[in-house]
Symmetry: C2
Subunit: 414 residues, 2 copies
Amino acid sequence: MSITPDTRVDLDRFWSTIQASAEIGKGRPGGLSRLTLSDEDRTMRDLFCDWCKEAGLTVEIDAAGNIFGRRDGTDNSLPPILMGSHLDTQINGGRFDGIAGVLAGLEVIRCLNEIGHTTKRPIVVVDWTNEEGARFSPPMVASGCFVGKYDIDWVHDRIGDDGTRFGDELQRIGYKGDLPCKAGEIDAYFELHIEQGPILDAEKREVGIVTGSYSVRGMRASFAGQTSHTGPTPMDLRKNALAAGARWLTAVDDIGWDFAVHDGKATAARLTAWPNKPGILSDTAEAVCDVRHSDTITTRAMAEKMRRALFESAARCGCEATIEDEWEWGGDIFDQELIDGVRAQAVRMNYNWRDIQSQAGHDAYFLATHCPTTMIFAPCKNGITHNNEENCDPEDFVAALNIMLHAVVERADR
Amino acid sequence: MSITPDTRVDLDRFWSTIQASAEIGKGRPGGLSRLTLSDEDRTMRDLFCDWCKEAGLTVEIDAAGNIFGRRDGTDNSLPPILMGSHLDTQINGGRFDGIAGVLAGLEVIRCLNEIGHTTKRPIVVVDWTNEEGARFSPPMVASGCFVGKYDIDWVHDRIGDDGTRFGDELQRIGYKGDLPCKAGEIDAYFELHIEQGPILDAEKREVGIVTGSYSVRGMRASFAGQTSHTGPTPMDLRKNALAAGARWLTAVDDIGWDFAVHDGKATAARLTAWPNKPGILSDTAEAVCDVRHSDTITTRAMAEKMRRALFESAARCGCEATIEDEWEWGGDIFDQELIDGVRAQAVRMNYNWRDIQSQAGHDAYFLATHCPTTMIFAPCKNGITHNNEENCDPEDFVAALNIMLHAVVERADR
């Protein structure tokens, strides 16, 4: 048997996996709080591995905890097609962000199993570790390591804000695999994801053909000052690291507003300090900020302003600033041939589609530095995400799933 | 036997109590981290109670955990003289802040015991609970309750930043006393304290006669926003509570600089947020700030600016701000007769003294709303405090201790 133009995925089967996932690591009502490398993440990974094995896939884990479920092709000497996303969530996360992409890959494979279609090239479904960065900074660290952006030892040494070490937690949950975290040759990477923005829902579109992404630059910085009494210490002798951090966050928020007219964004994401108590000035602080814009050159300008603001904020408060991490992703990074192939399927099946830019960070951005890559967006209600109110109906995935099925098979069989 | 003009305290005996205290709740090298109502605070309280009992005092604990060690006078129908301060410290605190004042009161009593002098009025040494506010906000909450500023149930319901409840922790360490936390008639209150500023040390003065205090106004405020993705959420739809809090802290720090030329100060003391993680906007934040100035009217103006900045900062980030607590203390609050009596002793014993204003917050400020009150300052090295490098030599306390001894006895015997 083989695929025909009329072949469609089994929406109920896909939705049942979404519902099973929604039971693991529940957060606020309707949402998930399934932080990477937590016990709940392990439970979800175990279930995903079981599903892969039931589908006849060869399951392999790499040193960063990335899970690969491989389906052989008729010519396994050819580079594989990858489909994937992530199963971890934000602390106040939803049931679809990332999860839908991994389970869509699984559904494509189950569909091919059902109709008995073996592709020419192998097909692999992937769960990337720690896409969210909600526990360990930076985000997307494991797909970054996979494509050679980060060294595996550096990844293992990341310290979470609960004081745990990435490598230790990976070992603890039993997902520190034997496979080196290093990409071989890959024919193409497809990532289905919810839009995480309001455009498709507002325009009642069934699917978004992702043509590129906002360019993002982020930074984690520390501030060093001195504890002292909040009373008698004159302003010019103060070294208040908390105030320095607050100044940086304020400056970054201002940068966002300066560029908002062309839809630029800047985020004051995180600030911690010690002792962070009344009556005493804090001697250490740490902060995470990022800037993003549809235009890469503009993002660079925003990032330079963010960097200057960092050192100005520290100096204003008598503190020293250090950039601990920096990251960047996005731009016009997706493969035109893949984009055209995806769009052609949307046209052929007569879905109500539009071209769209991604604005969030995705593992696809790192994969795009290594192999032809593209993304497909499903709509989500009001664009609400990273919130327990993130929501989709099963029907929101019909177009994206079927487009991915046919685009992947077309690519894998060529 | 009775006191003579040449009677002096036993400096070694006083210093031995400082050293014993310095062993309980050690922090960074040379410092203490003895947070209020902690196990270490209990150990110190137990030792202090033992010392009081050994000195023949009647020990009573009130409902806020304040400890009173009472020495009878010859006429116990007369209102007593109180001497006190606090035994709790900041998280990165020193060995002298507060502690010296409580142990100075004990030393005065031991000295009177030694020479067999019974004063006409009773004398009481006091340890006030939670002066620092380093665990439960606001600071000086138990002396405030004592003078009727705060209701005892409200005090018990304060939640620490470790999530514990003041009343529960008080019960846990066994210091929720039977005595109502309510001041009776008091003849006078004396508080010896280290200066916590650089003036006495820089001028090589042996003692500071405290004539009044900086006026302080503080505020704890919360911000309510909405979690959302840091990527696609447009600036004008964001409700980032962390950014709102950072804006407020920045504005308050600016207020400090605006008034710094006349030695005004403003402090961005504390900021927490949730989830406070990369990739997601925070939906809640809480912050503590204060302003202080030698002039009460100016402090009021600074506080009004602080209040306006709060609501402006929240509005700028699409959040709601709520003032959770407010406090004020200080001003020209000390008793002129007591100040003159203290200064007269400094002159008589020929110490190198100067008049000085207090800039930190002290329990004496609340006592001053209830009874004649004054303070005596001992010098500390370079004015460093709320830091493990806070330091004093035994000799730094000679003048303050002997002045307090004679000023207290003169007052108690009149």
